[in-house]
Amino acid sequence: MSGEVWVVVEALRSDVSEISYTMLAAGRVLATGLKSRLSALLIGHPLEKLAGTLGAADLVLGIEHPTLAEFNPEAYLRAATAAIEAHAPRVVLFGHTAIGTDLASGVAHRLHLPVVTSCRSFRFDGGEPQFSSLTCGGKITATGALPAPSCVVTVMPGGYKADEGRVSQAPPLEILPLPAGLETVRTSFNEFIEPPAGDVDIAKQEILVSVGRGIQNKDNIALVEALAKSLGGVVCGSRPVIDQGWLPITRLVGKSGKQVKPKLYLAVGISGAPEHLEGVSEADTMIAVNTDGKAPIFDVAHFGTTCNALELLPILTEKLRSP
């Protein structure tokens, strides 16, 4: 039993994902409180380049094999389970992502460990580590103790700044033995399918006007476009708007979309569910327009109004055009 804190690193196309750094920042908080070591479990191929940005960890434990070059659910599950079983860390952090959520439950069941999901932050109470998770569309915060002696956690962004976990330095790398059965896994990675090209990259925009379900119908998107234009910005949106086909997938902000860091984020008709807010953890100014005064977005925005967007937007656009 090592008592260590582990972070299971995520990478896509040889690029370590932002969530890994968030987890390292979170992991360091836990490791300090537990007076133990922070290790990064890195599964992939080749490992050297990937390990180069994991300096926030004390040690990188690597599992390397060509079949692990890109995420392969069952192969990664076997690798992670074998490593965790052998070392029995105190806490294992997975990302609350398409990669982490494929693995966390399987590891937890196989090793008979508790798993806590949607965690945003951790703290200590009398020396005991505590988790804080957001649930029910962001309306409820749930807290409790991280079960001892060992547990698995999925981490959502927002509780820690990714930059705090990003250190360009390669810690010592210890290669772990390959788990058995990698040749007989029942899943395999075929290929990536790229997103449609030729659209703006909202992640590079300074001014974003974001639209959610509250805009009611495609017709009204024109009002939002006009406002964005008058601000010199670009329109983006939350999941329901993209699913309806009112905006292309390249405009999606949130867990499955882009992470944005604009100067201005004007959220129109967006309730503020965690999957969306994940994409805007760091906007300089966030203004929310939503007729529901209790919408979770108002807990995150700097300014807000319950004025009806359909009335407000045309007037605002006009005032910006001719002051």
Binding site: Q216, N217, K218, D219, N220, Q244, T291, N308, L310, E311
Partner: protein, 397 residues
Amino acid sequence: MSVATSYEFLDKVIHATSDGKQIRKCLQCGTCSGICPYGFAMDYPPRSLIAALRADDWHGVLESDTIWLCVSCFACANVCPVKIPLTRGLLSVLKTEMLIGGRIPQELQAALGNSRRYGNAMGESPKKRAEWTKDFTIPVPVLASHKEPVDVLWFVGDYGSYHPRVQQVTRALAKVLYVLDVKFGILGPEENSDGDTQAFTGEWGLFELLARKNIKALSKYRYKDILTADPHAYNALKHEYPLLGLERPVKHHTQYLMEHIDRLRPLLQNRVTMRVTYHDPCYLGRANDNNIYEEPRQLLQAIPGLELVEMPHNRSLSICCGGGGGGMWLDGFAWEKAHVRTTEWRVREAVAAGAQVLAVACSYEAPRFEDAIKSTGNEGKLAVKDIAELLAESIFG
């Protein structure tokens, strides 16, 4: 359950209403298509629809989605020389077939799903149906906790209960009823959508579900009349609910207030010096020959200082606001297909008639016409007020 041929479909249409067989007498005169507000944008406006069915082009009909432009305004049924029940029969039965085949615009799907789950098309919490009564100067009894009989059970409706603009109308009416000393009560959270508009989207099953819930609640209490400011609710309560077992006198608020005009008139103290034109709601007027045209006008004319002017399309020729038949929940679809809003026609007509105020008497209308005032650039030139609001203005200042 779904039909495969034109003949099976026509058979369904004929059996849908007691006068269904009139469809066999269609002269193909085209008056229906001509008067239809969206006829120009439909693949099969009513006349063409009947022609296509006679030519056995059921597949062609099913392929088209423009039936969803039909706002169930009864304009066609009203002018048909052989009195084919086009709106209640042919058009709503076609919508039902479209639903059975899953051919439904997403916008509408949400409204119907919400109606089923929450008892209102907006998807608001049923518990909050009486929120409009909070922080309100007038006490509004909710019948479940009010143990005494009332004069009037006021069926408020979805938009009157939940839509911020229409809540203003609801409160205005409450004040008028209160000052008239009418003992009224509402169902509050026990009330579900009247279901009338859902029925005209083809969802007669959903209508029945909602109606039965309402009938259960409406049967529990003691009252003389059911009052409503919503012509859709009026229409359902008057014509359809009796078929499901509830027979009570139903009155639109304009009818009810005219019955009390002798007590109301002395209270209309303040002058409302405005030129007002009145928009006849489809469901108060020509739908099902409800023909309530004069009471609203009489009420308006009782207000001192008010000058009433008429638009050319008045009474049974009124231009639909586009909210019926699911139109309230299909504005995106209608815009994409037709690139025109009937509300804009109406607003322009009101302005051309020299009106400063467009008076309405239906829960859908105030928000719809106010949007059109903005989109036609008539802000400041024309205002929209429900008759209840104008009366309240005259009473309270």
